[in-house]
Amino acid sequence: MGTTRMDRRFFLKTAGAAAGSAATVQVGCLTYFKKGRSASADRREVPTTCELCPNKCSAIAVVEGGLVKKLNPNPENPKSRDMLCARGNAAIKQVYDPDRLKQPMIRVGARGEGKWKPVSWDEAFDFAAKKLAEVKAKYGPEGTLWSSTEGFQEVFFKNLGLAFGSPNLVRHPTLCLASVNLAYSATFGTVPSFDLLNSRYVIMSGANRFESIITPDTMDLIGGVMERKAKLIYLDPRFTVTASKADEWYPVKPGTDLAFILAMIHVIIAENRHSKEFVAAYTTGFDQLVEHVKQYTPEWAERETEIPARDIIRIAREFSDAAPRSLYYAGRRSSWYQNDFQMRRAQAILNAIVGNWDQLGGMVPNAKLPKGEFLFMPWDEPKAPRVDEIDKHFPLAAKGDGVYLKLRENVLSGKPYPVKAWMVYKQDPMNAMPDQAKTLKMIEGMDFIAVIDVQMSDMAWYADVVFPESVYLERTDPVEVMPGIWPAVVYRQQVVKPIHDTKPNLEIVQGLAKRLGLSDYFDFTIEQWVDAEFKELPIPLAAEHMKKHGVWAASGQPSYGKTLTPDHRFVTKTGKIEIFSERLQEAGYDPLPVYSAPKQPPENRFRLILGRVGYFTHANQSNNVWLNEFMKENDLWINPKPAARMNIKDGSYVTVTSSVGAVKLRARVTEEIRPDCVFMLHGFGKKSKMQSLVYNVGASDAVLLETAWDQVSGNAAFHETFVNVATA
């Protein structure tokens, strides 16, 4: 049969070629037709860097007929290693999304009403500059707030805020992983990477690495668990994909992970299983720890965590036996509880006492690569103190990032001073911050709001003017160095010209700067900026290489143990790894992690827990048509036992109510969650009608979440909200 087909194809080919109507494809000795595949003489392949999440994977864009047709993975990047996840593949739809912002717009109706007037760039710039000048005249430059999240062009936005004279830059970390960063910095003086590729024993608390985001850590773990027989212990109130792949899953009682860790430390010290040489040579405060953890027995921890004491003891033994190739993994989005910093500190201490610092299969301080800098005119330091009073309330927190929730409280109260203009780049505080009603109140209080984004986020929906940014495939961006065990440099270059009347962020910033009299600070092109960065890269012919490959990775094996020399000074107060932290003590915090039991939900209420799925990045991309196919709305996970009690049927609508808001969404009655929690996914229930696939579909967790934060880092505490659930 195959033969006759081929013969017939051959016949058709001859006829077709005679007609000259279609291209032919050569296959072996036979030539046959391929309909619809043009000869694609204009086919180009452009290496670039994905922007759909913060991982910075390298991609090769295939362009045909001026359109991006496909994104292929680029194997040269050690931080993406020949893979692109669902989001990365779907970035094409970001370009051709009918919902995307296509020209600058000024609001004409009430805020949030969705009435917009398309305007020219000049008009939009003039309008924004006038408003900013008004606020500055009335309240000073500190009366403006500059919110942004991670992105290669974020630097220009931040610089505009600083040049404008505002101290109030606020970034995403306190809605994300500020507690991890601070806890590891407080202990080791730096935030290390985790060598999952070589680890033999990994413990994770809630870091849902097989499901919520796909990075090399995910790939290393799959390889580790499935091929190299590494053991994965996983704690999560929910049975996630990671739980399903783990060797052991413990549905830990929410908020008690710290008890589990402290009991592990108790066992390791009681059984003399810690690394004595390492502790003596590189750490300080171990003796205080010995006394401190005596109270935290496995039997006590069993009552707190609902993890059997015998398992805690066994895991502690296995963990220390596998050291230094064992890890308590830190994870991302670490913002759960008000004691989050201390829980992360305990992990860091546990890792330290078994001596897995700077070891193969342990924690490794990040190797860095140098990069050139474009030198521009410096500006004066802002004179006013920050509105979030970070120095007073969070003396150890990262000043440049600010503290989101405290900032909102202070802006709402108008103390210490009024903030009346809100500039936003790439961030969606409407969904990212807990308690949406409060965020709306903050929006109401603003004299002026401008948003720069590629899509009409919920934040943009409430803005006065919206500046459409070109999507990443339409932009050339600054060079990014990715420190790590295998450090690399990535470059994002323009793949196609903008298809709408959009601009890269730098040009938007320049347009505003010009009208604000700040042009001198932004008197360069992206090419000049990038060239300056190329100059100091440790790569021969850096510019040519980066344009051709899009990525450069240091070759060779990583070197472990660079910090394990007698004269190495850790960037801590004592120059040692600080188990007991004097710095914390001086700032008024517990110098060693002290456990306090979390509040439990009253009867018939549930703890609301949150999570992500790797099809979407936070509240982004749920409106991407290729990704929305996998999940059209979010639902509320509830265990069958309480569901039966309340007569909640799978797929039926329920009303979920907290002290600050209520939402309606479908119930998912599932065995895969503890009976005392309910879970919902982030990124649905949008208010913006220009997110047409998810506008008013499902629900936004931000509506329900109460305002709470970690005491030390100021990180939002996202798992402290109790909710009522009832049939709708």
């Binding site: 309909k35 692109l84 499901e211 799959i222 399903s244 792949k245 895969e672």
Partner: protein, 183 residues
């Protein structure tokens, strides 16, 4: 390159699948698959009672069978098989009768409303013919699928099938499916 000496197949290690859907989107982009239709997909099985639970994922697509029933039932010969085993639909000859969709034991085909023809996985033959690998195989973060030539004794899939236990789905149909699932 002589295609008559090749027999393409996929070996799938389902345990490594995390249901991330990268393969599904890569296929959608590579092959312009319409919204709502899929040339590959991931089966999901969830079982157990809290806290004894289990989730299994299993990627699937056209099995590019040795004796494809879809080809047998096609009244116009639009469904055909290359000598290297790849089963294709020649759209010009497809009259949209959908017999092949009923005949396929794996439900691997879909009806494209726009062109009124049947669509299915081509094993990215256009990439393979240029020495490449299918888009789903390439993009996968955990490299669940291994693509290769069964007739090449040096290939990775040859080695895997020689050294690992595996099964095929619905062997009783006599179709001779060429998606090999490692056990």
């Amino acid at each position: 390159m002589d295609i008559r000496k090749r027999r393409y197949a996929l070996v799938i290690d389902s345990r490594k699948c995390i249901n991330c859907k990268a393969c599904v989107v890569a296929c959608k982009a590579e092959n312009r698959v319409p919204i709502g239709d899929f040339r590959n997909w991931i089966n999901e099985e969830r079982q157990g009672e809290y806290p004894k639970l289990r989730i299994d994922f299993e990627p699937e697509q056209c099995h590019h069978c040795e004796h494809p029933s879809c080809v047998r039932v096609c009244p116009t010969g639009a469904s055909w098989q290359r000598k290297d085993g790849i089963v294709l639909v020649y759209a010009d000859d497809c009259i949209g009768c959908r017999y092949c969709m009923i005949a396929c034991p794996y439900d691997a085909r879909y009806f494209d409303e726009e062109s009124s023809t049947v669509g299915k996985c081509t094993l990215c033959s256009h990439r393979v013919d240029k020495g490449g690998i299918p888009a789903c195989v390439e993009t996968c973060p955990s490299k669940v699928r291994v693509f290769g030539d069964l007739d090449d004794p040096t290939s990775r899939i040859h080695e895997l099938l020689a050294t690992r236990r595996y099964h095929v789905k619905e062997p009783q149909t006599g179709n001779g499916p060429q998606l090999y699932y490692l056990v």
